[in-house]
Amino acid sequence: METSYLLHAEAGGGVSSPSPVIDSSDKVEIKKDFNSKNHVKARIIKDIFFKSTVILFAFLSLLPLIFILYYITKNGIAVINWEFLTQLPRPIGETGGGIFNAIMGTLMLIVLSSIFSIPFGISAGIYLSEKGEGKIAHIVRLCVVVLQGTPSIVIGIIVYIWVVAPFGGFSALSGGIALSIMMLPVIIKTTEETLKLMPYSLKEASLALGVPYYKTILKVILPTGLSGILTGILLSVARITGETAPLLFTAFGNQFMNYNILKPIDSLPYRIFYYAMSPYPEWHTFAWGASFILVVVVLGFNLIARGISIKWKVQF
């Protein structure tokens, strides 16, 4: 040990000889008074001031949230009653009525879009996590990013051209397709991320038992990652439940009850938009009521998603 140190020391000495020792008296004298109490105090005050500003601005950003939740609750709860939830809208001039069609419409749209997007999304997510390094996987990932960032109104146009125009009219089906395109990237991403977290040993254990590869994925990996995938699905549902723009030229709206997927269908966000933009104060109160329900539903989905990801988290 000692000898090797000496060898190194000699070898090192050639590369960069330590500089001649500098006498302390040669030291650069800094005449500036940065040791002075005032300089230090000024810096501390600046530090405290900055921190206070950060805290202030951070909490100021919550002000709109408080206002929005307050108004939705205050104006919304006042309208909500059994009739509001179970009756159909009535023409202007008649009091009462409700938004039953919009609630049912939103439910139908969620079901339709889930049917289209979940199988594709999970399947593509499996591809990305399993064959994630290839060139195609990189292109797919890029497309997922682009799709997620595509403005919802553009999706509305697309589905109008693809579905509404050929079928000759607005329909629940077209709305479901538009929303499923919006769900797809979220499901793919969360599925990929969840499955990537699965330890390789899990797969090995199954393969070692002679279980074929596809069965290992479907019967071992997928069920283990179920909570993550479910979280992703719920988050994507939460995302599309409040979407209005892609429905404007697809599902449109319908003030009557409709269960036919080839006919226009109402939805909560569309009803809010329609009522909000109307000139009638009574409809405005209905918009608040519908908003309250929509917020509760959307936040509910988010909350359940979060609950699942915490409670069911598989620990490794």
């Binding site: 090192g12 960069s16 330590p18 020792v21 500098i22 040669d26 940065f34 300089h39 501390i44």
Partner: protein, 252 residues
Amino acid sequence: MESPVLKVDGFSAYFGDNQVLKDINLSISNNLVTALMGPSGCGKTTLIRCVNRMHELIPGTKVSGKMYLRGDDIYELEPILLRRKIGMVFQKPNPFPMMSIYDNVIAGYKLNGIRLGKDEMDRIVEQSLKESALWNEVKDALHRKGTFLSGGQQQRLCIARALAMNPEILLLDEPTSALDPKSTAHIEELIVELKKNVTMLLVTHNIAQAARVSDFTAFIYLGDLVEFGPTEKMFTVPRDKRTEEYLTGKFG
């Protein structure tokens, strides 16, 4: 004997309810290298972090007892003023990657909002890099980012950055643990050289390193200062059985 640069007086430290340093007493004089040695987790790093109050960055730490820097109570000074007077070099070389070599050396002044003239800065940079034996290797690349430097060079850059502030004490927290043997030798050589100008406190878990570079050694075990004295004496005739066991590799 002149007054000690650093005096530690009945000092204890706690992480939550866990006492990591127990009633430490130390006195360190000018221009000496003192090694703090002990198995990992013994509290040696905590001790030097308490010297420049870096432990306060981690919530939940408490200390009791006193420390004096040239007679001033460390815990009565403003931390930012104290830290300016005490240099620190870390386990992993950590030059600021977004700054040039030049700016790295002068970083202490920039960070502290001290405006210096171009001339003053040039002199400080040159002098600090010479002191840390890096000048010859980087003098033509001062305005390049330091990321192309080797690990050992980066660590010497960090030493230069600390020296630029003209510290009373330089704290070295296992400065060679992330380096290859050759760079390690280089740094050790540098430490011996620097002793002429600055007092150093070197944390190491490497017994041979303590033997090679230090004048005094403190052996810390489970938060206790077991033994403190001249390195030569401790390595030849340790007083405490635990020190002997540690030096002969019976544990740790």
